[in-house]
């Protein structure tokens, strides 16, 4: 029968006409929840992204109290690789360290004139593999490296890494919380709107049952209602976030924090996933309500 969809949509239209203020409230709540959630998610993803880019330059520097002789190098390398996979190991002698510093200072090179080339300690620079680049991994690695012969101390920007790690952790908690908020608000709003629809249409639903309407005829419009709330709500929320993003990046252009982070919007796939999940949540809310109030 080709008219089914027509009647389901017509019935949905009647429902919407019936209680549009409630519907509007629901759509607004969903948009706001989507906005809050995706806002934090956007920040989180960008910070994580920035962190991983910074992480590319991540290395552990083992300062030694004496020069490593070329024939001792394989021994050191083996010991280091015993702990875990390593991308690259570089041995820096006193002379090389001094030369590097000189290159960095460039024009102010003369300040080094008084200091001998022995002024800097020799070191080994260890570039760990990607999967090792987390706080606990680095800590363990650094503890291990301290046990190398004639190792003085190990440095990897501990305090910075730690702070950054906590920051990311905090953001993650916020993202999760706002996700929970999104889920609860959406499901609650959608299901209570449908409950209101059902209550307001009690007489009509009774008549529909009396003339033998099947469950589909009664439930499909309610489901469509939920899906529409999800689509409109998430579209509004994401659009709002996009506008905020555009405005912010437009006004904070130039050399600033955002540029340093290379702040970017969600890729289309993520956007689609957020929208689809909100719609799914709405379907869930509708189903809960339909099940509860209509005794399938």
């Amino acid at each position: 029968m080709g008219h089914k969809t027509y009647f389901h949509i017509k019935q949905t239209g009647r429902n919407l006409r019936h209680n549009w203020p409630t519907q509007l409230m629901t759509v607004m709540t969903i948009s706001l929840s989507v906005l809050i959630f995706s806002f934090f998610l956007l920040i989180y993803l960008n910070i994580v992204n920035a962190g991983s880019r910074l992480g590319d330059e991540l290395r552990l520097i083992v300062y030694l109290n004496e020069e490593v002789q070329p024939e001792a190098r394989p021994m050191y390398e083996n010991k280091i690789r015993d702990f875990g996979k390593v991308e690259r190991i570089e041995f820096i002698s006193r002379a090389e360290a001094f030369e590097r510093l000189g290159r960095q200072l460039d024009s102010e090179k003369d300040v080094l004139a008084d200091l001998g080339p022995d002024f800097l300690p020799p070191s080994i620079e260890v570039y760990p593999q990607r999967n090792m680049r987390n706080l606990t991994g680095l800590k363990q690695f650094s503890d291990y490296l301290t046990t190398l012969p004639s190792a003085d101390k190990v440095q990897y920007g501990q305090s910075w890494m730690e702070k950054f790690g906590y920051f990311i952790e905090l953001l993650r908690v916020i993202v999760i919380l706002s996700g929970v908020l999104l889920i609860m608000a959406t499901v609650f709003m959608v299901s209570s709107t449908i409950r209101l629809t059902v209550v307001a249409k009690e007489a009509e639903l009774e008549v529909l049952r009396l003339v033998g309407a099947d469950n589909k005829f009664i439930q499909t419009p309610l489901l469509i209602e939920g899906i529409m709330q999800g689509i409109i709500g998430s579209a509004c929320g994401l659009l709002l976030l996009y506008l905020i993003f555009q405005w912010t990046t437009g006004h904070l252009s130039g050399p600033g924090f955002l540029n340093m982070l290379d702040f970017s919007f969600f890729p289309p796939k993520t956007t689609a996933i957020i929208a689809a999940s909100s719609v799914l949540l709405c379907v869930g809310g509708s189903m809960i309500s339909i099940r509860k109030h209509m005794r399938i």
């Binding site: 029968m1 080709g2 008219h3 089914k4 027509y6 009647f7 017509k10 019935q11 059902v198 209550v199 009690e202 007489a203 009509e204 639903l205 009774e206 008549v207 529909l208 049952r209 009396l210 003339v211 033998g212 309407a213 099947d214 469950n215 005829f217 109030h293 209509m294 005794r295």
Partner: protein, 262 residues
């Protein structure tokens, strides 16, 4: 909430018996009673006996008047036939389907084949006359064109064409009653149950309504009309059965079908 209270108007309680697929009313053999009530008793809580030990067989294609004073149990009997109430005792079969053994989804199927004019109309006050009459056809997913045509036809027969787009709440009782009748007749169902269909109508409108029922009956519908309006059945050639205090009294119409009183 759709279903609440002890006697929900939309459902009868599930039972644990094996569900049976319902037989269609249209394809039911002509020579068997399409409605077969055997020793049905209905007791409303706590102990109101509305129908007592009533048996009635209505042949396919028959038009029957169910008469009796108010309180005799006519409405209850009709409600049992369309599964709004279930009998406390006894068996009711519609087109060979034992109503106590069919499940909810089957009841929906059955109801789509029965047009009911409720004594209290049960029309939707906020919807228009047109929308009210269209409901049973929409539920059957009839094409919008067919619906438009059929609604127009019914409005014409019942003399309320000019009220087509009026909200049902703004109609007089008599007009509302005709909307209820048009809705019951919309699908030209194989079985029509009408509860006091002329209760609020003047003689002219009663005439239209009876004409409609006669027409439907001629084209194959079985019609059961519960009424205490003597004027519509007195001179009728159709069978009349009388209920009195939940029991059939002796008077039975010209066509004697199995009808047992105990």
């Amino acid at each position: 909430m759709v279903d609440n209270g002890s006697t929900p108007a939309g459902s009868i309680p599930r039972n644990n018996q094996k569900p049976v697929l319902i037989k269609m009313l249209k394809s039911f053999p002509d020579d068997m009673p399409i409605v077969d009530i055997v020793k049905a008793t209905k007791v409303y809580p706590p102990d109101i006996i509305a129908v007592q030990n009533v048996s009635l067989a209505v042949g396919k294609g028959e038009l029957v008047f169910l008469t009796g004073m108010s309180g005799a149990g006519k409405t209850t009997l009709l409600k049992m036939i369309c599964c709004i109430e279930r009998p406390t005792k006894g068996v009711i079969e519609v087109a060979g389907n034992d109503l106590s053994r069919i499940r909810q989804s089957e009841i929906q199927k059955l109801r789509r084949q029965i047009g009911v004019v409720y004594q209290d109309f049960k029309i939707l006050p906020r919807q228009t006359v047109y929308e009210n009459i269209a409901i049973p056809m929409e539920v059957m997913y009839r094409s919008p064109k067919v619906i438009r045509k059929r609604v127009g036809q019914l409005l014409e027969i019942l003399g309320i064409t000019h009220k087509r787009e009026v909200q049902a709440a703004k109609l007089s009782r008599g007009e509302q009653q005709r909307v209820a009748i048009a809705r019951a007749a919309a699908n030209a169902p194989p079985l029509i149950l009408a509860d006091e269909p002329t209760g609020n109508l003047d003689q002219e409108a009663s005439g239209y309504v009876m004409e409609l029922f006669e027409q439907l009956n001629k084209s194959g519908s079985t019609v059961i009309i519960a009424t205490h309006d003597e004027s519509i059945y007195r001179k009728s050639r159709h069978r009349t059965v009388e209920l009195a205090h939940g029991l059939f009294s002796g008077h039975v119409g010209h066509r004697q079908l199995p009808l047992i009183n105990a």
